[in-house]
Subunit: 363 residues, 2 copies
């Protein structure tokens, strides 16, 4: 018998068929016609000025409040270098994005996890933690969280802001998935509620593609200047050629229709994943996000992700280790399912294989 076709529920990658290659080629031609003297040269570490201006207009802030970078992950690293002394406390949601955990640890941060509920961080646990620790910031992904799929409620957003103000820390709001809402109503972004205590970071990796490495931060101009100094010492200037292409793409008005196409492409994939789970693994009670790239579930008692991963690999199903998303142990039964890069047929097949593995391990 032939090996089964591999199905990867590993990383949160966009669908290849979503990439707007032809429009990016037009954007590249325009960027190289209009801006070659700038985008082929060294330039400011805070990024390509027209793109900063475009984002400033979009977010209703001054251009000094915008920094563009090579993807958004490195902003966490720069922030660590600019702000953190070894042992400084940083709060994260539990679970959270594993690469951010790695980056915070490299910066010497003392990472404190705040349990995440279906409607956002556990506020009682946060208040408890604030009695013990004084975090420099709280890293949160309020919309379609990675890895859980949870979205923070309006009430909890307001409490986060109040607590940030009263306890003198800021919220590092990571929101690359926010535009990808397939149903329901958006809550205000934290930065809309309280620009005084929020540094927003995002990227267009999930909207245009990761390859341009286009990320950005919006927030306090003084803090961004400190980040820019670290950025300059690290890479002199970000990838201005790619940023010029992203700028011409956005300036041409391509972004909004692209987001519409993504919604049409990804919404059925989320629906297919949930339908397959309801059919094959209803006992895992998966999160039911209204957007983004991920849903998550807790495996039945007595079954752990390690064993499931090992057995799943034998049937061509590749899964991520749930423990990687937890800052301080735990996650043995946690499973993240990134569904955007798989077709509905493969999603159904993948969940079927997953159910087979789980039920075999239970037997």
């Amino acid at each position: 018998m032939a090996d089964p076709k591999p199905i990867n529920f590993t990383r949160g990658v966009p669908a290849t068929e979503s990439f707007p290659a032809a429009q990016l080629a037009i954007a590249a031609e325009n960027a190289l016609r209009n801006h070659s003297a700038t985008i082929l040269q060294y330039g400011p570490a805070s990024g390509f000025l027209p793109m900063r201006e475009w984002l400033a207009a979009r977010y209703g802030v001054a251009v000094e409040s915008v920094l563009c970078s090579n993807g958004s992950l490195q902003i966490v690293e720069f922030l660590g270098a600019a702000l953190l002394a070894p042992g400084d406390a940083v709060f994260v949601e539990e679970p959270t994005y594993d690469r951010t955990l790695t980056t915070l640890r490299k910066a010497g941060a003392r990472v404190v996890g705040i349990p995440l509920e279906a409607d956002g961080p556990d506020i009682d646990a946060l208040e408890q933690a604030l009695r013990i620790h004084h975090p420099r910031f709280f890293y949160v992904i309020p919309d379609f969280q990675n890895p859980s799929g949870a979205t923070c409620s309006r009430a909890k957003r307001e409490r986060l802001v109040e607590l940030a103000r009263s306890h003198n820390f800021f919220l590092l709001e990571d929101c690359p998935y926010r535009s990808l809402r397939y149903s329901g109503q958006a809550e205000p972004a934290l930065i809309e509620l309280a620009p005084d205590v929020v540094l927003l970071m995002s990227s267009y990796s999930k909207l245009i593609g990761p390859g341009p490495r286009f990320g950005f931060a919006i927030g306090d101009a003084g803090l961004l200047q400190r980040i820019a100094k670290v950025a300059e010492d690290t890479y002199i200037s970000p990838g201005l050629l790619a940023h010029g292409i992203v700028y011409e793409y956005c300036a041409a008005g391509y972004l909004e229709p692209q987001v519409e196409r993504l919604l049409a492409l990804y919404a059925p994939r989320l629906a297919a994943t949930l339908a397959a789970l309801d059919k094959h693994l209803p006992e895992t009670a998966p999160t039911r996000p209204q957007g983004g790239f991920f849903l998550s579930l807790t495996l039945p008692e007595g079954v752990n992700t390690s064993d499931v991963r090992t057995a799943a690999a034998l049937v061509g199903l590749n899964l991520a280790d749930g423990r990687g998303f937890f800052s301080n142990g735990g996650g043995e039964r946690f499973l993240r399912l990134p569904y955007c890069a798989l077709s509905p047929v493969d999603l159904e097949e993948g969940i079927k294989r997953l159910a087979g593995v789980v039920h075999a391990l239970q037997a």
Copy 2:
């Protein structure tokens, strides 16, 4: 009277008029037609495979011996994170590239400067230093060195290799200027002499332009894997869109004619700078490089760069602080002159202003 036109001898930037914008636009179109599924997606931290293969063929090495990055400076950072413990010794030429000094210091290295002579590092001083320190590596720029303009002789290249082998350190050979030889004969690259003890790093920032942030390293596959792991934790993958464009540019055969154009553009600029110095400041005995971006000189006794910088700024002449290129003090009378981005007329005018300032301070 109108303010004089500013003339910048500050950073080593390429001439704007050298940028091959039209050819890059063709390359971008080809890259997005041929490789969009790869260059718009996340990918390997070691870079875009076709470009690694292209470089592997050019350097006659296996593809595993090639890593592509966002510019070359960050390779020094990754190397520091992969290899250095705080306090580990690293040797550098004295003077050397100031951004590398900053990067090595951030990594916690104990930087030891080896005096640089007109024909390369002072070998006696190097042997002395090797009696005291055991460096992990010696960072050298053998061709048209930044900031001095010195090129390492064949004899010294061979001694460097012998000492690296006998003292168990490696040579980090930084060679972004090597192709830009305006006269004379090239010596073999260190990596050609001794691939067993050399990690080469370079970039196309000086050939195509800095904006694509295209850098690369060539050397031991195991070491490159360790660098790639740090790179992945830092930026997931490098700027694959830009690297795809650079690849199509190179694959189309545009690079060699571009280098020819650069030689034709920059050789007269070096000649104009030397002629102006011979006319206006012969007493400074500038280095007389046969290529690259920089020459350097030592100001007359009693005159220091700080005072010259301050006075020069008043006549629209902007200079870099010579002390920044020295790892452990010194450089008070050292002046680097990057000449590539200035026209021969501006170079003559700039040197005239410099001479006026120096002579006024001597009076």
